[in-house]
Symmetry: C2
Subunit: 245 residues, 2 copies
DNA sequence: TCAGCTCTTTGATCCACGTCAACCCCTTTG
DNA sequence: CAAAGGGGTTGACGTGGATCAAAGAGCTGA
């Protein structure tokens, strides 16, 4: 279905304007005729298979990417091979902003499931955003949001204990699924315990134990990657107390 | 001296074009006549006394700030009062980018010493960067650099042990002092052990002990806030080994 | 359908860093 | 110059989460 869409000209033409992710993505706040102009430069689309990389650290930077379907993780690697996951990205979110500063990417972006992204050539985006004020502003907001998000992760890594981190993670995922029209209470995590652990600055065993504890206490029901949140307020309260630093 | 400069019209006119920080700041990469246009909108300057706040979380966002003299820390606060320092900023660096996304600031910016910033009204910056391509691009680079920096901090907080974190911090400070024409080997830290600890996700005692250890091992000489780096390669090697996650 | 994966869970043990507490050194102020 | 207070250092001790180990549970592919 997706494939047949992808090759029909109407679909290409109507990319952003018909996309149900526009509220979350670059077209947010644009007038209809402005979205049409954005469509023109977002022609190309790219499929990325599960475990394949959209880009790697060091790759030359040419475009940013909007996730149309699927999800990704981004990570940076130390010389000794250890990995730090810097984020998980869902549909409508923008990948590749790290590449602007040095003109090549500084992290790796890996698909967590078979995914598809809209390729947005950066030079053309800058060009268009010089003409379209609302696009310029929305793009700045997207970048700024990434900075704010990163500060939240620092808070998490620097000041919270293991169970708080996982609670914050689950609440964040829940809220993002909800924003995309999915259930806030029940969802599939596409990443492994190891990847969650890397993101949260914990070992996978600690993540697993925290999940078990939450389940024992009746906050969530966990079956492998399938999560059901049973007591969202309980999780929120868990967050409130117990800072470490 | 600074005060007398600040009120002379030439000085206001020549702000960016004569500023020795242009290489590090927004004017980087602009042609001379473009810098002149930037000067026009960077008229206002603001002094911030040590310990005073340039802005607070929740303040309406109207401008970003370039640090002319002095230094700052930014932090976010949890409801329970615990603080996470998200960064230390030096001359030429830009403060306030977090405010763009929600139209109000999401963190606090506090001067670590008596400081002065250039106020850059954001609406006018967006306006000008629609006209001046090189300014637009440099601004995007500045935002992107902040994102890359944040990823580095995540790496630090999520994957490094205490001594590695402090070593990374010292090397980073050293490099930034050097970029500003100061000694890379000898400098004054403007922040307390507690603030360093908050930034690095450690308690102040742990920071203090790590300083002592580095001193015992001959890597640095530490006298309160005065640091002399004696063996920069030793510090770098310390970074290479010993990841935790 | 089975073999060989990878991912997850759980238990036992260890240790890096947090916590608590005492003391020291500067700096500031009257 | 004395007193007060804010940093900073150091020691003793406790603990949250890492580490090591083993077994179970789901996929994947022949």
């Amino acid at each position: 279905m997706k494939a047949s869409f992808a090759i029909t000209p109407q679909y290409v033409k109507a990319a952003c304007s018909q996309c149900n992710l526009r509220e979350l993505c670059l077209p947010f706040g644009l007038a209809e005729h402005e979205v049409d102009r954005l469509d023109e430069l977002v022609g190309a689309r790219r499929k990325v298979k599960r475990q394949a990389q959209l880009y790697r650290a060091g790759d030359p930077f040419e475009a940013i990417y909007a996730i149309r379907t699927g999800s990704f993780k981004t990570d940076v690697l130390l010389e000794d091979g250890r990995e730090q996951v810097t984020g998980f990205q869902m549909t409508g979110e923008i990948l590749g902003l790290d590449g602007i500063s040095a003109e090549n990417h500084s992290c790796n972006a890996t698909a967590l499931e078979d995914s598809e992204v809209c390729v947005i050539p950066f030079a053309r985006l800058e060009e268009l955003s010089r003409e379209v004020e609302s696009l310029q502003h929305q793009f700045h907001k997207v970048m700024s949001r990434e900075i704010v998000r990163d500060h939240g992760v620092m808070m998490l890594l620097g000041s919270m204990r293991a169970e708080e981190r996982l609670a914050a993670f689950l609440l964040n995922m829940s809220q993002r699924f909800m924003a995309r029209g999915f259930s806030a209470a029940e969802f599939h995590l596409r990443m492994t315990r190891d990847e969650i652990g890397s993101y949260l600055g914990l070992k996978l065993e600690t993540v697993s134990r925290a999940f078990s504890k939450f389940q024992d206490e009746g906050f969530v029901s966990v079956q492998q990657k399938h999560i059901r949140i049973l007591d969202i307020d309980g999780l929120k309260q868990l967050l409130g107390r117990c800072a470490r630093n």
